[in-house]
Amino acid sequence: MALLELKNVTKYYSGTTPALAGVSFSVNDGEFVSVIGSSGSGKSTLLRCINRMVEVTSGEISFGGVVVSRLGKKDLRKVRTKIGMIFQQFNLVDRMSVIENVLHGRLGYKSTLAGVLGRYTHEEKWQALKVIQMLGLEQQVYQRCDQLSGGQKQRVGIARALVQNPKMILCDEPIASLDPRSAKIIMDHLRSICTDIGMTLVISLHQVDMALKYTDRIIGLNRGVVVFDGTPGELTSQRSAEIYAREPKDVNINLGERNAS
């Protein structure tokens, strides 16, 4: 059954060019889906529409059978606890320790007062430590996050998403500010989270080779329109050119050349 379903999702920030135009697709439980496209094609917007960090202009998004766009504030927060998110800039509180940042993933489950005071139960702390250990950060548990490397920070980001006990994790270009070695570590972790835990992941990526190597399915966006939706095997170099084409006619020119030769 589809865990996430988008129907005709359209987003206008302002003006007349949409950031997303009639995007429809669905994601099954346990799938690892990548969204690729050039800069400004709408990847970040798409991911943020799913947990309504950005409000859609029209269309419908349902997650686990619930139509997200119709929820009130409280129910929306409940849905968000089930959707983890990790970011290109890691978005940690740099001055706090690793364990505190990871425990922030539990805030959605807490009463306002407990959240304000940062009171966590014994089980929550234990779970956080377990996740930290799983991501190989056990040496850094009480270290402040501004002392970590980029790769370590992103692992803290993943840990924070995991302690939410989410059904799905959204990753917005998680490796775009990392060196190749750290990027590989992060992608390996995400892959194993999908394979071993059965987590559903939607990840936006700049690098096609990463999408090909790690993900089960690729969605190609070009100026807010889905121009490709298929397995890595189906992504030929011509389809890839279509995703990254600046103008529609660029593709035609390429096709013409190819046909001529």
């Binding site: 960090m53 606890t81 983890g84 970011f87 539990r106 306002t112 939410q164």
Partner: protein, 261 residues
Amino acid sequence: MQADVFTRRRNNALIFFALLAILTAGSIIITQYDVQKGFTSIARALIWGASNFYPDARSLTKLPDILVKLRETVLMSIAATSVAAIFSLLLAVAGSRTTRICSSFTVIARGIASFFRNVPLVAWAMILMLAFSQSSLTGFLALFFGSLGFLTRAFMETIDEVGENTVEALKSTGAAYFPVIFQAVLPASMPQVVSWLLFMVETNIRDATLVGLLTGTGIGFSFDVYYNAFNYHAASLVVIVIVITVLIVEMVSNGVRRVIL
């Protein structure tokens, strides 16, 4: 195209300096300010100061009185600053782009900030004197209002700058408004908030002297009394004590900054 940018920048600079020159020349002509006399009187003032405005042995007997007044002034500045900081922080959280509840709050907070900031301190003291006459409450409130305007603006910019990413991350976990503020925004902006607060205390100790002169309280009043009694030696002692105090406060706050940053 690029050359154009450079020419325009140079032209802008030329226009700017031409305007500045016209403005300066214009104001000198209108006020009939004698430039030459202005510079020569600086020298004369220095000579007068060196021969009259220094503490002598007799003025040192006034030191205990002066120190009592100094303590009053310093404590009032600290009190006014910290009370203002509390209100400013509330206003800033309500008004910052990243943490506001609705966008009209930004307009309100900005309005309050610029109103209180743009009314000069002396004007505040004069206006408040009408209501509370010459008392330390007048001085306290004058400093409070000035600080409120300045700190609200500074805190708002700090939160705008520091909060955005982490607010996004915590909101996406489903955390409610107040936990986000207390777990992300305040910890992340605390060093800068404290730094602004210390800066404000320094400024206020300096300004409290002036306000005290008007409201007849604290060390400003001491200065006024000695000065009007032609006791320049004691008056100069007051100035030296103020300078030393400001230097000490500056040193202490630099130390605090080093520790928290």
